[in-house]
């Protein structure tokens, strides 16, 4: 039976990795880290989790150790954030190309400089194209559930790809809140033991991570891309399994009061909660506004997104990262490309908000709506604006 507990969200993530009975955790235990690996280190040291904890000397080494342990057939978990994730960059592509089902929790935080360890999505937007499955959690319960789900998807024979569970640094990772903690039997029923599709085994030698000559590189990339695109159905299937096992249902795209909305906010991560409360307040003032939240970021759920925004007169896309030198933030750029490709002329107003720990409040949403509505009414071009800049 699940227990209702009050827990720091980082610890909920660590507990999910424990419930998943991971074999290896390789992590660099210094800032920018979270309590996720600290708690896992404790669980291993205290004998509550029978796993190998490898405290490596850098994040580059952390992901390298994960690649090795996953290739050896161990269920492998790590966590990173900010500069640490940036230092992993090189190995992240190798993990997906080698089709290794590593699961990583990323506490989304800013990149320096100026030196900043607070929340935004700069770290993960720089890792947009690493070929991993990526989800974004909205609250502590989702962090826990998406972490369990990540193992299920990653290890599925139809996928065999690493998965990142994104969670807002501080705004989620450092918050104590209530959540339902499943018991071991429930998790075991959902997530059986890891059965690797292939692994390094001296009795049956294979080579992994080979050179890809020009004659095969393109084909190898195509094969990995197809695995990522194909993971979409598997992601949904294992969310359906989660609903059956735990009674909580998840979709690639969530909507809130979107049916009759004239304008829709598009958000990712924990911002969705403040957005919903702001929408309730704006609805009370008679404003027809709703929201769309992207839970599955990679592979991007194109059809779900298009269905969610159907009928909307305008979109307000909120980015928590900059894409310097192009007209919009990374999420808005991508969505506008998608709309254009589908021949949809929905006006888009893009805001870059919440950089480096700047709070995004209900009032900010109200101001964003007003500005966007004015821009839509004026029939102007798409604009990108940074929220709350002190001039």
């Amino acid at each position: 039976m699940a227990r209702r507990v009050g827990l720091e969200v980082s610890l909920a993530c660590a507990e999910a990795a424990k419930l998943a009975n991971v074999d290896v955790i390789a992590a660099y235990p210094i800032t920018p880290q979270t309590h996720i690996v600290e708690h896992l280190a404790e669980l291993v040291a205290d004998g509550h989790l029978d796993a190998e904890f490898v405290p490596v000397e850098s994040e580059h080494s952390a992901m390298s150790a994960c690649v090795g342990s996953s290739a050896a057939g161990a269920r492998t978990f790590t966590s990173s954030s900010s500069q640490g994730l940036a230092l992993m960059h090189e190995i992240l592509f190798i993990a997906s190309a080698m089709r290794l089902p590593i699961v990583m929790a990323v506490a989304n935080r800013a990149l320096s400089g100026p030196l900043n360890i607070w929340n935004d999505h700069s770290d993960i937007m720089a890792e947009r194209d690493i070929g991993w499955v990526q989800t974004f959690a909205e609250n502590g319960q989702e962090v826990l559930d998406l972490t369990l789900h990540a193992f299920k998807v990653a290890e599925d024979a139809r996928v065999c790809l690493p998965v990142i569970v994104n969670m807002d640094g501080f705004l989620l990772t450092h918050v104590i809140e209530p959540l339902l903690m499943p018991d071991q039997a429930e998790v075991d029923a959902y997530l059986p033991a890891f059965a690797p599709q292939q692994r390094l085994d001296i009795s049956k030698p294979i080579s992994m991570g080979m050179v890809g000559m020009p004659e095969v590189y393109t084909e190898a990339k195509k094969a990995t891309l197809e695995a990522l695109l194909g993971s979409y159905e598997v992601v949904k299937e294992h969310w359906a399994g989660m609903a059956e096992q735990f009674g909580r249902s998840y979709k690639p795209i969530e909507t809130y009061r979107a049916e009759d909305a004239e304008v829709l906010f598009v958000t990712m991560g924990s911002l969705g909660e403040t957005c919903m409360t702001a929408i309730d307040e704006m609805r009370e003032q008679g404003l027809k506004v709703g929201s769309v939240r992207i839970r599955l970021w990679r592979p991007f759920p194109v059809e779900d997104f298009l269905a969610a925004i159907k009928g909307a007169g305008g979109l307000i896309v909120i980015d928590r990262a900059l894409s310097p030198g192009v007209p919009a933030g990374p999420v808005a750029t991508e969505l506008m490309g998608l709309l254009y490709a589908k021949g949809l002329k929905v006006p888009v107003h893009n805001f870059v908000a919440g950089l480096g720990g700047r709070d995004v409040t209900r009032e900010d949403f109200k101001k964003m709506l007003q500005k966007a509505k004015d821009a839509f009414a004026a029939g102007g071009e798409m604009t990108c604006e940074m929220v709350g800049v002190k001039e």
Binding site: G6, H174, V175, E177, E273, T277, T361
Partner: protein
């Protein structure tokens, strides 16, 4: 929903205060959030911690700008930290001070409902250290309730183990000794 802002100095346990209250409220079946102010952690520097308690799910990730309750763990912050910022006119200030309520009001400029306990003295006597986080919870519970007194026992045990009982005594003394003026 009740929103509480804690002011303390790094090392005094303001974050722990918020966390213990949240855990107690969650154990009662309520919804709660506790979070720190996410600044650099420096011993002695002014810090804040935040707490929301509600009967319905909390869908907010913004900081607390208009608290119902402000708790000040360190007397020196009353005159220096603008502790009354955003405090609702009908809200309550709960302060650690050896001074009478009128003097506390004078120091922080808040004229509304005020509760004062000499938590530094109580903590020194009961715990042997001037760490006022658990002591001040007694003052908070006396002044504004928020949780059932018995709900705090488990979180205290979980956090403090063998010294939980001492903390409980300090909390109970503060509960008894807190002076409230409307």
């Amino acid at each position: 929903m009740i929103e509480v802002r804690f002011h303390g100095r790094g090392g005094q346990g303001a974050v722990t205060s918020a966390e213990l209250m949240a855990l107690a409220a969650i154990a009662e079946g309520k919804y709660a959030q506790a979070f720190p102010s996410f600044g650099p952690e420096r011993r002695g520097a002014p810090v804040q911690a935040f707490l929301r308690i509600s009967d319905t799910p909390i869908r907010l990730r913004e900081k607390i700008y208009a608290p119902d309750v402000v708790v000040v763990l360190d007397p020196s912050l009353l005159a220096t930290a603008n502790v009354k910022a955003g405090l609702k006119p009908g809200g309550t200030l709960v302060a650690n001070s050896a001074k009478p309520v009128s003097a506390v009001r004078g120091e922080c400029g808040f004229g509304g409902r005020t509760a004062v306990a000499d938590a530094s003295k109580i903590a020194e006597e009961e715990l042997g250290v001037p760490i006022t986080n658990t002591t001040m919870l007694g003052a908070v519970m006396k002044a504004v309730g928020l949780i059932e007194p018995s709900s705090i026992n488990e979180p205290l045990k979980e956090r403090f183990g063998r010294i939980a009982e001492k903390n409980r005594r300090a909390l109970e003394r503060a509960f008894a000794e807190t002076i409230i003026e409307e």
